[in-house]
Amino acid sequence: MDHHHTFEVSGAHVSRLEDYRLITGTGCYASDWNLPEQVHACFLRADRAHAKIVKVDVAAARKAKGVLGVYTGEDAVKAGYVKPMSFLTFEGKGGMKARLPSRAALANDKVRFVGDMVAMVVAETALQAQDALELIEVEYEDLPAVISPEEAVSGKAPQLHDDVPDNLVFEQEAGDAAAVEAAFARAAHVTKLKLDCTRVIPHPMEPRACLVAHDAANDGYTLHVPVQGINMMKMQLSAYTGVPQEKLRIMAREVGGGFGQRSIAYPEYAAAMIAAKALKRPIKWISTRSESFMSDSHGRAAYITGELALDKDGKFLAMRIDWIADLGAYLHPAGPVSPMRNPVVCLTGVYKIPALCGRWRVVLTNAGPVSAYRGAARPEMAYTIERLVDEAAAQMKIDPAELRRRNFIPPEAFPYKTPTGSTYDIADFPAVLKKALEKSDAQGFEKRRAASQKKGKLRGLGFATVIENSGAGMFPKDEILLEVAADGNLTAYSVSHSQGQGHETTFAQIIGDALGIKAERIKLRQAVNEKPLMGNHTGGSRTIVGAGTVCHLAAKKLIEVATPLAAEMLGVEPSQVAYANGEFQSKESSKKVSLGDIAAKKLLSATGEGKFGSTFPNGCHVAEIEIDPETGVTDLQSYVTVDDCGTVINHTIVEGQMHGAVAQGWGQIFGENAVYDSETGQLMTGSFMDYAMPKAGWINDMKIYDHATFGTISPLGVKGMGESGCTASLGALANAMMNALRPEGVAPMNMPYTALKVWQALSAAKKGK
């Protein structure tokens, strides 16, 4: 196969079928659901980071107007909702078993972070519940808090959970430490960096909410919650509560942003289950934004030391990393897995590095729980490698593009088995880099830098060449069910759930393409409990690879299933029937029957299925920035992306994904940062007054290109691309910043590059000169 082929896909820019509904306010989000007799819950949250609960006096709250019930840790214990919310089955260093702390749905012995839930009030109205909340008196015995993960495992820190000694949940090693040691010993140059990937708070526009009803007839529950897929939610909730999966119905229509944060079965949902059963009324809860800041899962929080060894010609000899993952006060389901699994798969990045090793420690602190966030440790890994490579290039005075070229895994080496055991199927890194440098006019940069200098500004250009693992998934297979109606229109059913990715459009395009009919005739229904299907949730950029590919297979199967039925109606042998564009035609006569004609007579449906391994989307992003040294403010001048996500189904959706993910990377590099007071454990960035979300006007003029190699895992050649914008942008933007700051004498900095920090670094460098 020609590796340098760029695919042109028909229907390259297609407007999204769901957009009319979403932008005209006719969507239905979690808080839009209502049920007869519903009542309202609200939560009393800890105002301190670490304390023993001595007494919770709810007597006055119980008597307050409209109050139907007040629940505390005792009720959680009674219900048995106290299990660890996470699982980790593999063994760590020296056969270490993960120490998984239990978490009561409502805290029963201690509170461990600001926002931990102490009690839940249920009342006829939300206002009454809030009023009653203020009548609850909690007696605490304060304990010292630990916020820094490095301190948490120092042996001198306060213990969060009795059964997690030294606050260390898990320790893992990967790679060949002895080979790395030997390589470092003979290296001509070593670059070492401390790279903190800050704790951030993802903010889907839709706040978290739930509406939970108990069905006394079968002792089952219906939950209306934001999800990324119903199977994952059922599995987690069932594991935590002991309610069998078949007795859980998960309802969702629109989900206003997920980013990993909406894949979690949160304890609020379990607490609402307790009240729904006890009161025989549906329980509704809508999170405030302040609660979101405290209690929705946080992201990143990786504290990494990286070392790269090179020979005198700049050939990479070895890389070693030490990674501390701060998971906060409790484990969320995917929390401990992603910072360990994903970085190992892509530890070598896009480079041939003969020797690799890493050490991971998963650590608890008195801060909000951390879980997978768009990229789930792939951005942290790629950021580490790309900062090391860029810094090494600067130290060795080698052009950063040239240093990368010298070390790329060459196109002819694919499929490439990496030193940590994964296999990259196909990629063309030199071509991707070349195109990115051309499209960003990297050659003309020095001229632009000089022009900026004339204006008193500092200009920088930086890039990152990255790879990430996508696809795969923990369910045994992905399934899509297709049903044909008598009018020839189709309904597709999936368990994965869009949170903005545009599945209704992409899936319809794939099915329409396979059947030769218009995408508008295919309706996607997500989160349908009545059609039990196997499949993964939407996360890890896997949906196009799994469910998307299965859409294609289901359509092919539908033709297969319909062919004998068509033959029968046409009165010929199945071999004498040809399918095209929604119709079967007899090769013997000109007679035709459509899919709708068949469906009018017989139930016509097909289920496609498939299981797919890891795919490897990759790309190069080039950022150009200008810094105002008087204020430290950075202005993004241009941003160019060249990505290889395999076949592109819909360029509009790919571009939208890139816009959003790069904005999230930009946010983290320049301002987003969850700050806790290191002494008290109070969340200092608890609102948008202090938490710097990126604003739309700050990022403009992004130029998005692709350079595809046809992925081998899916017959469609797709690789996934929902997260690649995060994975590439952290390194590209940070490298651009250091490219501008390095000539001023600024030493490598940690993100975020806020105006304050940049100004301080420049001032310090000036004084040092």
């Binding site: 206002l127 809030q130 009023d131 302040s290 008087e630 204020t631 430290g632 320049f670 301002g671 700050v675 200092m684 960035t685 948008f688 007054m689 202090d690 938490y691 710097a692 979300m693 806020t754 105006a755 304050l756 100004w759 301080q760």
Partner: protein, 267 residues
Amino acid sequence: MYAFQYHKAKSLKDATDRLGKDDEARPLAGGMTLLPTIKQRLARPTCLVDIGGIAELAGIESQGGVLTIGAGTRHAEVAASGAVKEAIPALASLASNIGDPQVRNRGTLGGSVANNDPAADYPSAVLALNAKVITNKREITADDFFQGLFATALEPGELIVKIAFPMPNKAAYAKFPHPASGYAMAGVFIADTGPGVRVAVTGAGASGVYRWREAEEALGKSAKVDAIAKLAVAADDLNEDMHGTREYRAQLVKVMAGRAAAALAGK
């Protein structure tokens, strides 16, 4: 939020009568500060007296060298007003950069000035332009009006009706927005009022908006932009938070003042 009563005032008198009867009642203009405070249960007014539709608080008028703007005028109206753009373009420009479009379409001049948030934009314009704050009871000069963080000369039951801005020869405003909230971390309004130059700084001072006398003197003597560059800004009296140390705010005050001075000089 706690339960409260709502009263839509028909006139200025209706509003002041209602506020006079109840110490815990609060006037509601655009609600851009009050409503979030109420929603977080940080304020518990018994009654919100909505002064949004009162005719006496509306209107923009330019006459005899004075631009008078009704207290109920929304930021977006000030930003778009031909009369404001002609009389004091810097004021229109200031209004166009407050908050976001939603805030500009709700927030009012009177609300902002009465609240005297130390990081709000308008107080710097009122102070630098030597405006008169006209209430239902009296006229208060800008120098007397602002009295520290969220504190003003307004007495209980006193409402701002309009603000009269003497038209300057020239004026300019430069603002460094807070990276998260968009409020001013340092906003400097410079007005060449004829008799002299007035410089007001918002966002940076530990006690709210203040006049920067050294800058006034320097700019009064020399119209040159580098008049500011030679000044030292003392960091001691400035605000500090995680987004800006005192030293950083001192730098920002100086840089913003320099930029406003440059704009004033037409550079």
